[in-house]
Amino acid sequence: MQQLGMGQAVNQALREEMRRNSEVFIAGEGVGVGIHVNPMFPTTGLLEEFGSKRVRDTPVSEAAIAGLAVGAAEAGLRPVVEIMFNPFITLASDMIVNHAAKLRYLSGGKSSFPLVIRVKTGAGFGAGCQHSHNLEAWLAHCPGLKVVMPATPADAKGLLKSAIRDDNPVIFIEDMMLYFAPGPVPEEEYLTPIGKADVKRPGGDVSLVTWGNMLGVAFKAAERLAQEGVEVEVVDLRSLVPLDTETILESVRKTGRLVVLHEATRTGGFAGEVSAVVMEHAFGELKAPLRRVTGPDIPVPASPTLERFYIPDEEQVVTAVREIL
């Protein structure tokens, strides 16, 4: 099987969907001619293959980029636009929150908005809080938006292809740290369904629910705990909206214990939603209180020592698991 970083997997998905459907176009800051010519990055080489009609470099204008997607999607195109870093989605938020998410509803179901907004996210590259800020919970709080956050290159490819074919607005969040972590990606064509979680590691003692870049941390913690004879079931949500409550509940009913792990900050984080779902539907089956392992409630600091402190690690996960065993 081919080994690809997540950026390369995204690149393949874009290529395949653009070849398949001439209504698909991409736009964003430097998606055609960018600063870096790096084969690990998502849009490298697309301008060469598809030309400047379908690969649109835009000015530094996030509101216009998102609005372009909303307007063009209603008119029948399939825009895939990029917001360079997650914090800059705030500049596009009116178009996303008040328009992409709501215009179909406002039309009484007459219009649809088949668009994808790709957003790069994640801490760990020392740029500080105006570049690193995971806002997936904000977006998940807007009915009308699907929110997808893959953890592996294979899922990224399959999910992005599904997102492009979906008739709803999809926010597709890519953790940049994963661009440089190659993983297996099937050669043949496939789609990964949006709204379906994936049990990435089965286990009977505790359910560890996570998504995005934290999957790696979850695996490390699971391996360490396995040496102590504790079997952790790692559930990768892959999509926050729609949320696969069935898979979460099935796992928790089996293990009776839950730890939710995300890199985003704690208060109002999506772990709260996952926890609430479990409390509502599986309270009786819980053998212990659940635990959240998240970033602390601070902006992501730049300094390496501080940034390491911010990012949840396997030690914290192991501790949380031990606390509820």
Partner: protein
Amino acid sequence: MQIPVEKKREMLWTMILSRAFSDTLSELCKTQGRVPGMMILSTGQEAVGSGVCAALLPEDVIVTNHRSHSHLLAKGADPRALMAEIYCKSTGCNKGKSGTLHLAVPEVNAPCTSTVVGAGLPLAVGQAFAQQYREERRVTVCFFGDGAADEGSFHEALNLASLWRLPVIFVCENNLYAGAQRYEEHTRTRHVADRAEGYAIPGEVVDGNDVLAVYASLTKSRQRALAGEGPTLLECKTYRCHGHSESDPQHYQPEEEIRSWRGKCPIPRLSDNLLAEGRITRDEIREMQAKAEAMVRDAVSFAEASPYPLAEEALEDVWAD
């Protein structure tokens, strides 16, 4: 405009210091991992910060962006505190919270730095509003790039500042590139300054590599602002001699273009002028250079010898008590 010779020498000094600072950082970046994060420099653009800040008083405010080093040095920031912050050390001006991208130095009235492109303009509107509100005799300058003029925030800020005649000067540092996009690939407005007309404020194009011209224009617009006549949009035409950041190979910048702009370097332009006027000697220029290099070496030693912040310090500084 008659510019006092002391002012000219001050501008030469701050440009030389800024250049020594960025040349050193550029060298340091060649060793992987020595300085964390992105490295965004203003090599070749020093005349903008130096000319602007020389025309300001210490109580005037500057709002700057991701490419801030030369602005902050010209405003009088301590090279040690800046360098230590760029190194993300605990002795840095922001205790390692910021790193290079949002260096805030309230001590020299540079309190609101943002790496969000275009964010500086509305922030500057707020600073200028407070100055007007309190009837203070000082002004705010906002530095931003040509790319930032494409954000909605630029337009909203200009309109509001114009409407309320706020004492703010919007200084566009047009270095011909926004990321990998050349100016004419991101806008069809001939000059960013032309947009001033849409907001009924003066817009002026200045040679951004001529520090004396920058100084003169800023002085004029500052007087206008103090007289209650409102904002000015000043566009300084210059060139980004390095890549967007030090990891940018500049594959999209024609070599000939880089070479020709390096030939228009603002530092010899001023020093030659001063030499011709007999206002400085070659020895004095060499002394300035040696002094700048020593200051930067000292700043680097200070930064390298400083500790990283303790992990738990991450929790501090979120809230005002």
